[in-house]
Symmetry: C2
Subunit: 352 residues, 2 copies
DNA sequence: TTGAAAGCGCTAACAG
DNA sequence: CTGTTAGCGCTTTCAA
């Protein structure tokens, strides 16, 4: 089959289609953009001409007049100012947790039917953050979806200050006027804790996440609150970094401190999995000797042995909602800043 | 601080900067694009005007004339034609393997210093594939980097047929005229096999990957060749799907078939990890009783217990090279189609 | 319901 | 070395 012209450069333009259909550019434009008030017969003719010429509208030209890129920036943002060499490390840390993939999936699920697309950006250094802001200021993207890995991340404030549309995953640390979606982490931790208590555990411990991350902090607080409420004013805590390895180390430390423990609440599934590995190494059966509850209900939870009882965080839904909020902010720049908080739910499997 | 105008819409234009600096648009454009032949003094003036006005070049306008979007599509492509409902499943499968994150990291590492950015796209249904092709045809992206999860993926052929610049990760199944980067999988499998043999294993088995994926097929072939060459014409094979769970099941099957096995070559790290889990459950020590070698040297390899001996696939480097090749194809549409094959290397850790 | 014409903001000849 | 000018391809009033 032969094409009228090359797709990439100098492909057919509206003008070409118009000529082929014997109408004006404006009419073709109307048909393509699905605007009413076009004679059905002419619509037919135009569509045929479009097919015949193999026309594809030039996005840059359209963006120039509509002032919309139909692109949004999906930013994974850290706080550090590490050297460029750290990019791979940053990326591999980010992708090691199934969390980010779920965010991407949720975002794409919302964006794609609306023919918008996400540009993937890392913002782990100040130079990278500048690049993100520039990208937006140039109109390369209509707005940003930001997932921070640290509370001190300066990007949200930069973006807000520049007046660029953006939505965060999780509440920002300071008083940044940006919409966000989040989970009721404390409620989730309470659910997990009470499940452990209800199943008869009396010597609980917890593997907390980084306390400089809101999610890590809130999950610990939620656990401690629930424990206090049930008559346990103090319980051993080991802080780790949300990684499998970190969970292993924390579990080992906890075991040394509290050899009789019979229940563990880990602030995410990866650490819960690490805990299970160490527990088994030390000859403790899960859940018979020690019950373990994770958090997130990531893909590793169901795949783990034993399958992890965990607290579900509906990341895909949250991400989709982030995208929805962003779209609203893009369409109405004066859209009020809001937050949407999702409720977690307990998912009981084998580990507790 | 107050801004001259809003960043998003109606921000300052070249014209504004030119007026502020008392020069012509062309001169400002030259300064911004770093073109020589501009009086240093004037350059200063212009830069100040840029700063004063808070100018950011409009990307759409630039793209319209340069015919470059400075955006490339990073496509994760499957073969299926599953319903829309399958998108999350597809995404979670993709991101469960650390592989994709490494690709993204390598791509970004190359692109970012050149101020180009990747748009993340899934192409798991025929509708999604059409969308990818349209995206490119509209000039929204200058080219595509395609990572297929199945050999029968029709996307490469579609893209090639449309004459769009693209580079694949891994050799395509048919005779598609597209450049690609790949690994010498057979050499890698040989490395692993000979390591196992050299350390004294005599009853080897292998957990193969999907045989409809080139990498899966070649790794098995490489293993069998090496075995045959060393006097083992036949060895038990269990095929799995590159997942942790799949590795576990395959290992169990292999154990039933060959209870005395003393060495396992798994076609990727995730399956090797699954094998280790099952082995330990059955009371076999790794590596004392059974040695295990994985493939990829993904992040799980180093994190596993015991740390996995594996074959390194330099995914980040390969991805960066993909991006480099794509850039060449974009710059010179007549660039000859080529392939770059990377050599794997053995990484000895604890499991073998 | 359709067409003519005016730009969107930028780059790139081409003069000077 | 700098300015003038002509578009890039599209959407969108404004008339007809």
């Amino acid at each position: 089959m032969k094409r009228e012209s090359d797709a990439q450069a100098g492909g057919p333009t509206l003008e070409d289609v118009a000529r082929a259909a014997g109408v004006s550019r404006a009419t073709v434009s109307r048909v393509i953009n699905g605007i009413r008030n076009v004679d059905p017969a002419i619509q037919q003719t135009v569509r045929q001409a479009v097919a015949a010429t193999g026309y594809a509208p030039n996005r840059a030209a359209r963006s120039l007049v509509t002032r919309r890129a139909e692109i949004i920036a999906l930013v994974v943002s850290g706080a550090g100012d590490a050297s460029e060499a750290g990019q791979n490390a940053f990326a591999s840390r980010v992708f090691a947790d199934p969390f980010f993939g779920r965010v991407a999936s949720g975002v794409i699920g919302y964006l794609r039917p609306r023919s918008m697309h996400p540009v993937l950006m890392f913002a782990e250094t100040s130079a990278a953050r500048e690049q993100v802001v520039n990208f937006l200021r140039q109109g390369s993207a209509d707005g940003a979806l930001i997932v921070s890995t640290h509370a001190e991340d300066p990007l949200p404030a930069m973006v807000a200050e520049a007046g660029l549309p953006a939505v965060l995953f999780a509440r920002p640390a300071g008083r940044v006027p940006i919409s966000y979606v989040d989970l009721a982490h404390q409620d989730g931790a309470r659910l997990a804790t009470e499940h452990l208590l209800a199943r008869g555990c009396r010597r609980l411990v917890t593997i907390a996440g980084p306390q400089d991350v809101a999610a890590g902090h809130d999950r610990l607080t939620g656990f401690q609150d629930a424990m206090a409420r049930h008559g346990y004013p103090y319980t051993p805590v080991a802080e780790a970094d949300f990684t499998l390895r970190g969970g292993e180390e924390a579990m080992a430390a906890l075991l040394a401190q509290e050899p009789d423990l019979d229940g563990v609440f880990a602030a995410n599934d990866l650490m819960a999995q690490g805990a299970c590995v160490v527990l088994r190494e030390r000859g403790r059966r899960v859940p018979e000797d020690v019950a373990v509850v994770g958090f997130d209900d990531s893909s590793v939870a169901a795949a783990a042995r034993p399958a992890l009882t965990t607290v579900r965080q509906p990341v895909e839904d949250m991400a989709a909602d982030m995208a929805r909020l962003l779209q609203e902010h893009i369409e109405r720049q004066d859209r009020a800043v809001t937050s949407v908080i999702f409720e977690p739910e307990l998912v009981v499997r084998e580990s507790a």
